[in-house]
């Protein structure tokens, strides 16, 4: 049987290379022409514990993982214990012979048991026990008849930086394992996953990478940040690419320094971005207000993880929405985007800079661990590189300034609220920027009228910016009995849910909010005006987006599905919860 879809799960300890082998296998599958969605689940520790990597492949585009596992690669007893029951009838379990497996239970459900001497193969062929993961992949590839040369090409690429010995060792291990599967389990497994011959090449990208790419192409020149899961890889990707593409990347002493360095750099004219998570954003709170009152365009990426405080460092949640909306004393405009897909991350990466510069205020991209770290295969043109636009808003050129006849007023009162901006360095635009209230020329003032005018000028930018905010993205039939509403990383699971519901006969669609602030009230209202039953699905305990919908657009959601256990939504989870909703 030639399969159209399949889910692999690789489970083991931190340090066993679960993530790297999972990512490698995902890449191989993508290279073979499959659509791929890969997600990781790991503990906040370097060794031990129990991590897994889950890969779903399909011959059609997919946006999410799903729960049932077709082939489990269990590297540890824990992985066996935790995941065997997730394997579907007809599926299989690959693991070391010595592990305890309840074969009877597997048999009952017609799950195939594929014991394999992974450690032996790793040691004999590769000379190192750590290559056990490669052995497992080799067995898996063998079982499904995956073209070995594709797998080999990924091994070559991935281990290249570790040297020829690593490449060769892993190749030998993979090959031996592949052969082992063929020799021992030929025809024992009913899945076949070959190469899709006519498939175009695709990229495998996660949210962080897409966002970093968007920022890079959008003219990001300066990145300052402090490592924090799940935002770290943006900082690291930029550090790895900065020298080549002209981006200065600074690992700072803390997040306070990061946001203030952004303000310094952006004030001078560089497009500047800081990736962080909730804890780092907390430390940026005071600086955010400084960007607000000095009208300095900066971009912060807040990749959420479960709080409060350190919470669950390597897991996912959507619990910081109201926090980023209201962070810092006083009232000032900010832009908040919450992309839901890899494509939207890319767009947010450059669009945030435009919005920040057009409205001279901080722009925040609110992402989360699930979106940040899950990879999806996309078409080569899905991230529209050439379509990236750079709009610096009302930025005065040297020529403009040369011709200036009156004194330059950095914080001039304007109808739009936006005051034409000059960068320091021109003799005609020597001005003050300050976190204290100020007159149009930037000097300190405490006069009530001047204060009132500046407050209003700044807040007017929100009205102006509102036009730029997109309404919810719709997916599914325009008219439907059931409308699922979501934001951010729930896009994928929701989309899959909608497809399944419609396939099962329920007409359902979804509305996905991606531009959060200024809240596109009218667009949201319009989108939801003739929705049927509405169900809000979000990853927090208090229903933060539902609260925004109700309080800012007067939309009362009928039912709520929430999750705050650190794990992402799956379509199955949503479907089950929808059943619950129906039943009571």
């Amino acid at each position: 049987m030639r399969n159209k879809e399949m889910t692999f799960k690789i489970g083991g300890e931190a340090g066993q290379g679960v993530e790297s082998s999972g990512a490698g296998f995902a890449k191989a599958l993508a290279r073979a022409g499959w659509h791929v969605f890969g997600m990781q689940d790991y503990y906040s520790r370097i060794r031990g514990g129990h991590n897994f990597y889950q890969i779903r492949v399909s011959d059609k585009p997919i946006y999410s993982h799903t729960e049932p596992v077709d082939l489990l690669l269990a590297l540890t007893q824990e992985a066996v214990n935790r995941h065997c029951q997730e394997v579907v009838t007809g599926g299989g379990v690959i693991c070391e012979e010595c592990l305890e497996v309840d074969c009877e239970a597997l048999d009952k459900r017609d799950v195939n048991y594929f014991p394999a001497p992974l450690t032996d193969i790793a040691q004999e062929q590769g000379g190192a026990e750590v290559m056990r993961n490669t052995a497992a992949l080799g067995v898996a590839a063998g079982l499904i008849g995956f073209p070995f040369e594709v797998m080999a090409s990924v091994i070559e690429d991935n281990f290249a930086k570790k040297g020829a010995k690593a490449v060769e060792g892993n190749l030998r291990v993979a090959e031996a394992a592949y052969r082992f599967a063929g020799d021992n389990y030929a025809d024992r497994f009913d899945y076949e996953l070959g190469r899709i011959e006519d498939a175009p090449p695709r990229m495998l990208v996660n949210g962080n990478e897409a966002l970093a790419l968007g920022a890079l192409l959008g003219g990001c020149k300066f990145v300052a940040g402090y490592p924090m899961t799940p935002a770290t890889s943006i900082l690291q990707w930029m550090a790895g690419h900065g020298e080549r593409y002209g981006v200065v990347v600074k690992h700072t002493e803390d997040e306070i320094a990061a946001i203030l360095m952004l303000i310094g750099a952006a004030h001078m004219g560089a497009r500047a971005m800081a990736p962080t998570s909730g804890g780092g954003f907390s430390l940026m709170t005071e600086g955010l207000g400084l960007a607000g009152i000095t009208e300095t365009p900066i971009v912060i990426v807040e990749a959420q993880r479960p709080g409060p405080a350190t919470g669950l460092a390597t897991r996912t949640e959507q619990g910081d929405l109201l926090f980023v909306m209201h962070a810092s004393q006083g009232e000032f405009p900010r832009i908040i985007l919450s992309p839901g897909t890899v494509e939207e991350c890319f767009e947010a990466g450059w669009r945030a800079f435009n919005l920040a510069e057009m409205y001279q205020c901080p722009a925040i991209i609110l992402s989360d661990n699930f979106l940040a770290n899950s990879v999806r295969s996309i078409e080569m043109d899905a991230l529209d590189f050439a379509g990236v636009e750079i709009d610096r808003g009302e930025l005065l050129t040297d020529d403009d300034l040369d011709q200036l006849e009156s004194e330059y007023l950095r914080f001039a009162y304007t109808e739009s609220g936006v005051s034409p901006r000059a960068l320091p360095g021109h003799p005609k635009a020597v001005y003050q920027a300050t976190g204290n209230e100020h007159t149009p020329d930037g000097h300190l003032t405490e006069e009530p009228e001047a204060r009132r005018m500046q407050v209003e000028k700044r807040l007017r930018k929100l009205d102006t910016a509102l036009h730029e905010m997109d309404g919810p993205v719709q997916y599914g039939p325009p008219e439907a009995d059931l409308t699922l509403v979501g934001w951010g990383s729930t896009y994928g699971p929701l989309r899959e849910t909608v497809d399944r519901l419609n396939a099962e006969g329920t007409t359902a669609n979804m509305l996905h909010i991606r531009d959060v602030w200024p809240f596109p009230t009218e667009k949201v209202k319009a989108a939801l005006s003739d929705a049927g039953r509405t169900v809000m699905v979000e990853g927090n305990a208090t229903g933060q987006m539902a609260f925004l919908l109700e309080s800012h657009a007067g939309v009362k959601i009928d039912h709520h599905i929430r999750k705050y256990d650190g794990r992402p939504f799956s379509p199955e989870y949503i479907l089950a919860e929808l059943k619950e909703v129906e039943n009571g």
Binding site: K27, R31, P201, R202, M203, L204, V205, E209, L213, L217, G219, K221, F222, G242, E243, Y245, G246, V247, V248, K250, T252, E253, D254, I256, A257, L260, M261, L262, I263, G264, A265, A266, H267, M268, G269, A270, A272, E286, G287, L290, T294, M380, F385, A386, I390, L423, P424, G425, H426, P427, A429, V430, Y431, Q432, A433, T434, G435, G442, H443, L444
Partner: protein, 290 residues
């Protein structure tokens, strides 16, 4: 030729009559003018406090930030435009209290920033609480029984952090301070200029009368060599009947942070312009995900 009046702002200082900040302000303007640096070539970054209002009173690119936080934006500004002369001005509470961590890190990075600390050994703007440099026993509104935190020693901290230029001025001795500031500006790397700054409103005990008889110039000490780090360490601890001012320490030839950032070899970041992306670039980028 740049002249001092080029730095004149329409806004007059709001400092108390007799405040040491006037002297520092004037010295800064004079030093800049004497170095022929025009206002648009200089960015003055400050924190929050009485002295941190200096940029507001100066016709210069000004960035008046948050309490304790002037060094990070100064760092960002330098990395974005390293042709700009960047000078921080902030108080002792700001710089040695809340901002001490940033100072240690800026110093070890050898960021090419002049860091002027208006050290009046008290919180001026919030009206008289003890500061990190207030002497033990100092009675203030937050230390009514006398301070029991031992004061920081900015010189020895800067030395330990790896600062490549460490000096102290006295706000009354303008000419001396101007020369220090000029050398600090010319120095390539992080330059701490601690300035004894009388606060006539909240710290009368440690004002002109206290310092005048005590200060002496290290450069006038026979054989004093600012390149000698061990000697500097010793001298950094001198504080009593004799209080050294002048350039305590200067290390030449240590590369600045900016010098070592590869991207900046192509010129100031803000002048590099946006990259013209080519199809080839796109292909290279895409290949990283395949």
């Amino acid at each position: 030729m740049v002249e001092v009046r080029d730095y004149q702002s329409p806004v007059r200082p709001t400092w108390c009559k007799g405040c040491g900040d006037y002297g520092i302000w004037n010295s800064l303007k004079l030093a800049l003018a004497e170095l022929d640096l025009a206002p648009h070539e200089v960015l003055m970054v400050s924190g929050i406090g009485c002295g941190s209002k200096t940029p507001d009173y100066t016709h210069v690119n000004g960035l008046h930030t948050l309490h304790g936080r002037s060094l990070p934006p100064a760092t960002g500004a330098r990395l974005a435009n390293h042709e700009m002369t960047v000078i921080c001005v902030h108080g002792d509470g700001d710089g040695y209290g809340m901002g001490l961590g940033h100072m240690m890190h800026a110093a070890r990075r050898n960021m090419d920033i002049v860091d002027v600390v208006q050290n009046n050994r008290v919180y001026g703007l919030t009206k008289g609480q003890y500061s990190p440099t207030s002497p033990a026993g100092f009675v203030s509104k937050t230390s009514p029984g006398g301070a029991i935190d031992r004061p920081v020693n900015p010189w020895s901290l800067a030395l330990a952090a790896g600062a490549t230029f460490i000096a102290r001025g006295f706000s009354v001795d303008l000419r001396h301070l101007i020369e220090i500031l000029k050398k600090a500006i010319q120095h390539r790397g992080y330059a701490l200029v601690d300035v004894l700054q009388p606060c006539v409103s909240f710290n009368r005990a440690y004002a002109y009368n206290y310092y005048q008889p005590r200060v002496y110039k290290v450069e006038e000490e026979p054989g004093y060599d600012p390149a000698d780090r061990a000697a500097a360490w010793e001298r950094a601890h001198e504080w009593g009947d004799r209080i050294p001012i002048g350039i305590l320490y200067q290390a030449e030839g240590v590369p600045t942070y900016e010098d070592q950032v590869a991207v900046l070899r192509a010129g100031p970041l803000v002048k590099q312009g946006f990259r013209e992306w080519t199809e080839e670039d796109y292909a290279v980028l895409r290949s990283g995900f395949m």
